[in-house]
Symmetry: C2
Subunit: 66 residues, 2 copies
DNA sequence: TCATTTTGTAAAATATATTTTACATTTGGT
DNA sequence: ACCAAATGTAAAATATATTTTACAAAATGA
């Protein structure tokens, strides 16, 4: 799972903490997802996409994990 | 999280077990997701959407959970 | 340079997804 | 009615996401 959250945050200039607030998770969760440390739940993926007004498919992509 | 997996399966006439196979999870996982017993991971959501050739956004939707 | 905000990271605890095994119910065809 | 395939479901085990607390490093502005 890759994603362009960092880019969207820049575009909307929003901090990790602000985004975390809006989607009801902790800052660390956003940080970890941005860094691809682990994948979000589908629900969280949708919430984040909604904040930026983009489709989940445009924000995330499946980088062939085995 | 709602989804139209059952419809897509019908359209492609594919069984839960077949779909499970294609996306590398168990039949029970597909069954539970169809029944909205729990939400899939984003990765799984993408894999399922890919099988049907649709966008994640078209297959799943966020039915305002609190 | 100093102070403040933002980001990176980590370990332990908790919540949730997924597997495994197993059985019951429904559905479709004959 | 019978048989087989498909679906529904459940409990315990395991994997993975997310929280909490806490600190270190980097970035930004004055």
């Amino acid at each position: 799972m890759k994603n362009t959250i960092k880019v969207e945050r820049a575009r909307h200039n929003m901090t990790q903490a602000e985004l975390a607030d809006k989607v009801n998770v902790t800052r660390q969760t956003i940080n970890a997802i941005e860094a691809s440390k682990y994948d979000p739940s589908a629900t969280l993926a949708f919430r984040i996409a909604r904040v930026f007004g983009v489709r989940v498919d445009d924000l995330f992509s499946l980088e062939e994990e085995e």
